[in-house]
Symmetry: C2
Subunit: 232 residues, 2 copies
């Protein structure tokens, strides 16, 4: 039997790489989609390419979209990325690294590709537990997106296709995500999490994303191969 095609949004980070491993494990024919959106940590695209190549996806597209023209985020604008000494300092409010409508834009490109492939399945590595500050990572948002997506498409209108947005990490802690990925054989050396790497791509170790990664590995009782070995 032919494998069902699925689109997996792949940033090259820990969460999306684990999500990709889960989609492969579930037997999907994985089409990975990444974005060059003007992010200051564009080194993550190198990770995305390594992950896609190493883990064996059918096709990997990198779409170029310039979200810098709208600004409004520390990831795309001149706003400074916050740094902290300890993970406990992270605040519960929506952080300045939030990029307006980013997941909505990413999912919309995935929807376009899904429709041309006649795929019914889109995977996104959003997570509401360990880092719930982003509005477009919450289950109610994903559910509303799914309803909209099924009204947006030709196949949805013709009743041929019931599009589903899969969020396998939604209710997992970072350490659970790492444990799951490790059990599926994910090589986390391939991934990149830092929002504010130096010019050689080396993680800063003190941004929100670095701190959550460290905490996750600690709680999973594993060592972070990137942190110990440096960037590949």
């Amino acid at each position: 039997m032919d494998q069902r095609p699925a689109i997996v949004l792949l940033s090259g980070g820990l969460d999306s790489t684990t999500t990709l491993a889960i989609a492969l494990d579930q037997g999907y024919d994985v089409h990975a989609l990444s974005f060059d959106y003007g992010q200051r940590h564009s080194v993550e695209l190198e990770s995305a390419r390594r992950v896609a190549k190493t883990m064996g996806v059918t096709k990997h597209f990198v779409a170029t979209i310039d979200l810098r023209m709208f600004g409004g985020s520390a990831l795309t604008d001149s706003i400074t990325v916050p740094h902290h000494d300890r993970v406990e300092e992270l605040q519960s409010a929506i952080p300045v690294t939030y990029v307006p409508a980013r997941n909505t834009i990413f999912l919309s490109f995935a929807l376009a590709w899904a429709e041309t492939l006649a795929a019914s399945d889109i995977f996104i590595g959003v997570n509401a537990l360990d880092y719930s500050g982003y509005p477009d990572c919450r289950p109610e948002y994903i559910k509303a997106y799914e309803i909209m997506a099924n009204l947006a498409t030709k196949a949805g209108v013709e009743g041929k296709q019931r599009l589903q947005i899969h969020t396998p990490l939604m209710e997992m802690t970072k350490s659970q995500i790492i444990t799951r990925g490790a059990s599926l054989g994910v090589d986390y050396r391939l991934t990149h999490s830092c929002y504010d790497p130096d010019k050689d791509g080396k993680p800063c170790g003190t941004c929100d994303s670095c701190l959550l990664r460290q905490k996750g590995f600690q709680e999973a009782g594993l060592s972070d191969p990137t942190a110990t070995n440096g960037v590949l």
Copy 2:
């Protein structure tokens, strides 16, 4: 009092130009957004620039996104644009000129810009009456998008902003749209409707979009300045 900012999606065609005129007439501080998405009729972007300049918008962005990588439409792929002798030949099924998820992608960029501007209003010139073949032009789709958008954004989550998608043309026939635009002083010479123009940008006169435009002007009892004077 300061004018409220609004985003208006502007293709450079008859519908979006009329929508822009309506938003200006309603007193909005208009920010126009167009897309270079690899469309074969990219001459419409020249129209969009002319319209934005002539009608006096506050800002006009043209976002470059390459939807050709996904294909699946006569507007972005090597599929032939259909031509007809008469408007009655147009079919009610979803036409090959449908671009998968196009309006969803366009609205998502508008949402990003709206959020950074703290704008609560997005205008899109979709129309369900005269040309109802596109799934992402229907009122139920727009309603679902609006619900999703209010869950996607920081302002939505914080309860500060109630985002609204305005579709002033939704229930209008093409001739009603033209009559309304003419009453607002729209110069339709600025606009471009053809899906399949020749290399000089001249409309073919026989694609779905040309035929509906002709029918609209006829029924409105007006002459099409573009058709008589050629492309500007």
